[in-house]
């Protein structure tokens, strides 16, 4: 599968939305990969944070929105603290999640969780799940 890169995709409305939500310039990223190399959960991601940034630079926001990585991200802020270009990568990830949540994708309804699940799931995960809805 190849990517067809088009002028119309570069900096399209979706990219502008991500930039608005996160307050970050996607095109600041020069693909050093420091965000991914410091990420504690990158091994469990389908695409890495720097790849998400790259796809965003091409305007391929849908690919990032449908990835699992934005949900694996625990917002530990490692990436943000390490980025040599000063991009708050975690904020960009949050922006992706926010777009999904606003479209009703990935929303967790606590009422639908069974009693066993709420008992077994670590509290921090529940908090994370709830936090999603604050987006």
């Amino acid at each position: 599968m190849y990517i067809r890169i088009k002028a119309a995709d570069i900096n399209n409305t979706q990219v502008k939305k991500i930039e608005e939500l996160s307050g970050q310039n996607i095109f600041d990223c020069y693909q050093c990969g420091n965000c991914s190399s410091g990420c504690p959960v990158v091994d469990y991601m389908d695409i890495s944070p720097n790849q998400a940034m790259r796809l965003a630079q091409y305007g391929r926001i849908e690919e990032v929105l449908s990835s699992e990585m934005i949900w694996i991200c625990s917002t530990c802020l490692q990436c943000s603290s390490r980025c040599p270009k000063g991009i708050d990568v975690a904020k960009v990830m949050e922006a992706f999640r926010t777009i999904n949540l606003r479209n009703g994708i990935g929303v967790v309804n606590p009422k639908q969780l069974g009693i066993t699940e709420t008992k077994d799931i670590p509290p921090i995960l529940l908090i994370c799940a709830m936090r999603k809805m604050t987006g």
Binding site: M1, R4, I5, A7, I10, Q51, Y58
Partner: protein, 648 residues
């Protein structure tokens, strides 16, 4: 017999850990000829040097062996030390017991034995060393600069500023080089012509500078400080002193050919001015295409020239100049794009090289500075730039990095965006090399703020579909293949030595590297000088270089020459070949063997040595069948004695 002092250096632990210096001192103390011996931690230190000086004075030594590191490092240190105390510096030998002994061995016993032999050979050589004086010769205080690009112009101006006469030889009808073709320059985006033309005017008006355009170096005689250089000047058929630049001749000329200045993107006549700011400012006739040399065929320009400046009968002229030193500033050309078939250059009008794109961006270019593509004159909305086109490809093209392409490609993309605001430039790159001052900032600003998209990967092929150029590449960052429908493709071709430089290198007997660039005397410590005495290098002739680096090197080479010119005569190392006239049979084998042209047959059929030219390489000595040629301080007797010690 000489009274020899031996000084063994420990070099901290570098020598001492592997060579038993105490044992060595004991053994050598009784070697014939050795009057005094000592060992010390650092012979190169001030106390170490004082030790040598004190021993020379007190023990009345007339030969010194320092057993230490390679003579390339500290020979001059010790030579200066012994000279301070009045001993001729050629009575000092350095025995290398570090690089050639302690560093390459582990066994102390064996290494000590080897060090012992190395020092003994040095002692044997020293026993027959003569005291020598540097060879001196007169110096012609005139300089030739070959090449009138930015490097040549800068070097010529600096030398003229220093008060010496300069002869500048330029192959083309005007000075200016490739820099005059550029639109704007990175990273400041100032107009190339605006910053270059003042220098060109200064040079043209400088009374110390003699300018030969349309000219090439034909032959050279002599040696550093005393060259005789023959220049061949092709006629331009228009007398620049009479020509009023009215342009009537161009209007009537029936011959139309590709313009070199516009890299083939526009046309010119056979009688033409290379570009508006050309220096010397004059029309010139292109011999290859003009029909006027057969009066029946044409002669239109001559008919209309009211000033009567045109004369078809001018012949090629030859001039001989006496020169002390030469700067080679022959610059670069672009690697022929036709060699990279997959990018379709020459096949598709909308695939350009970097210089052609410069011309399209330039206000004096074929489109008057408007961003239009060659095929149909439309404004290109998407442009693909391909970096490393021919560079960093040891298998098929050039192995080296051309150094300037990353920066000029980004500049191209930026200038394009400034002209076409809704245009989209893409740059395919392998790595981005932005080592110069404020270069990285220039790139990052463009990427962050100007919407220039970098794609990491090499383009596999470019082909035409409709009126689009389809570019197939790889984005190694996402791991996916990419396809772009572009309106224009610009190739950042690798930089190669300028056309004809190979011939010049042969004429001047210079050395070049495996890529054909001129070879410097030392890659780090002598980058401004050629291996051959009297020749200096500036600009891209030595290797791909941007404008700041070319100018720096040109000014550096000029400073080297000014230092040379400030002396009354030139001096030369006296370790050279010498001929026993009675033994020389005049066979002349040495003449062909000498790489420096230092051996010549005199009127008595004796192959004499030109002391100034001889570099002491020893090639003629080993070739001489009669043994008439000897190297000073490295005679056959000395070598035999040295071998005898090793074998004893």
């Amino acid at each position: 017999m000489k009274k020899i002092g031996v000084f063994v250096c420990h070099c901290g632990v570098n020598i001492k850990d592997t060579v038993d210096v105490e044992k060595l001192t004991e053994q050598l103390a009784i070697y014939p000829g050795v009057t005094y011996i000592e060992n010390y931690m650092f012979m190169c230190s001030d106390p170490g040097q004082n030790m040598i000086k004190k021993a020379i004075k007190e023990k009345k030594l007339d030969g010194i062996v320092v057993a230490a590191c390679s003579p390339t490092l500290h020979e001059s240190t010790f030579q200066n030390a012994v000279e301070e105390i009045g001993l001729n510096k050629y009575q000092l030998e350095v025995a290398n017991i570090r690089e050639q002994c302690s560093w390459v061995h582990n066994n102390i016993q064996e290494a000590t034995r080897k060090a012992d032999l190395i020092i003994k050979t040095a002692i044997e050589k020293l026993k027959l060393n003569e005291s020598l004086k540097p060879v001196s010769a007169p110096l012609t205080k005139r300089v030739m600069v070959i090449g009138g690009g930015i490097a040549g112009i800068q070097a010529a101006l600096d030398i003229a500023d220093g008060g010496y006469e300069v002869v500048l030889v330029e192959k083309k009808p005007s000075i200016g080089g490739h820099m005059i073709q550029l639109s704007e320059t990175f990273p400041t985006l100032d107009c190339s012509q605006c910053i270059l033309t003042p220098k060109m005017v200064q040079l043209g008006k400088n009374k110390k500078v003699t300018l030969y355009v349309n000219s090439e170096v034909e032959s050279i005689d002599g040696f550093m400080g005393n060259f005789k250089i023959k220049i061949k000047r092709k006629p331009q058929y228009v007398d620049p002193d009479i020509c009023t630049m009215c342009g009537d001749c161009t209007d009537v000329c029936p011959v139309v050919v590709h313009s070199e200045y516009d890299e083939g993107l526009s046309w010119r006549r056979a009688i033409y001015v290379p570009f508006p700011q050309a220096i010397p400012a004059s029309f010139t006739i292109d011999t290859e295409n003009c029909l006027g040399f057969e009066p029946i065929a044409c002669g239109e320009c001559k008919k209309v020239c009211q000033a009567e400046a045109i004369n078809y009968d001018v012949k090629t002229e030859f001039f001989e100049e006496e020169i002390g030193a030469v700067i080679i500033a022959t610059g670069f050309d672009l690697y022929p794009v036709e060699n990279i078939a997959e990018y379709g250059y020459g096949k598709y009008p909308d695939v350009l090289n970097g210089l052609q794109f410069e011309r399209i961006l330039s206000a004096t270019g074929p489109t008057g500075g408007e961003m239009l593509r060659p095929s149909d004159g439309k404004v290109p909305k998407e442009i693909v730039f391909i970096q490393c086109s021919g560079s960093r490809d040891p298998e098929r093209h050039k192995s080296y990095c051309s150094r300037i392409c990353c920066m000029y490609t980004l500049k191209h993309a930026k200038l394009y965006k400034h002209k076409v605001h809704d245009g989209q430039p893409y740059i395919f790159y392998i790595d981005i090399r932005s080592g110069g001052k404020r270069y990285e900032e220039f790139i990052q600003q463009a990427v962050s703020e100007e919407g220039i998209v970098y794609i990491r990967g090499k383009v596999a092929k470019v082909y035409k579909k409709g009126d689009k150029m389809i570019v197939h590449g790889m984005d190694t960052l996402t791991g996916k293949k990419v396809e772009i429908e572009a309106d224009l493709v610009v190739l950042a071709q690798s930089i190669v030595p300028s056309e004809g430089v190979e011939k010049l290198i042969k004429t001047l007997k210079l050395s070049s590297d495996d890529s054909g660039f001129l070879m410097e005397a030392h890659p780090k410590l002598r980058p401004l000088e050629s291996l051959q005495s009297g020749f200096y290098l500036a600009g891209a002739a030595q290797g791909p270089k941007d404008i700041p680096d070319s100018v720096s090197q040109a000014s550096g080479a000029a400073a080297k020459i000014l230092a040379l010119m400030s002396k009354d005569e030139i001096q030369h190392e006296p370790i050279i070949a010498v001929v026993d006239e009675n033994m020389c049979s005049g066979c002349g084998i040495c003449i062909g063997t000498c790489p420096y042209g230092a051996r010549i047959l005199d009127e008595n059929k004796v192959a004499i040595v030109n002391d100034i030219l001889c570099e002491g390489c020893g090639a003629c000595i080993s070739a001489c069948p009669s043994g008439a040629a000897q190297q000073k301080n490295l005679t056959d007797d000395q070598i035999n004695n040295m071998i005898r010690v090793i074998l004893s």
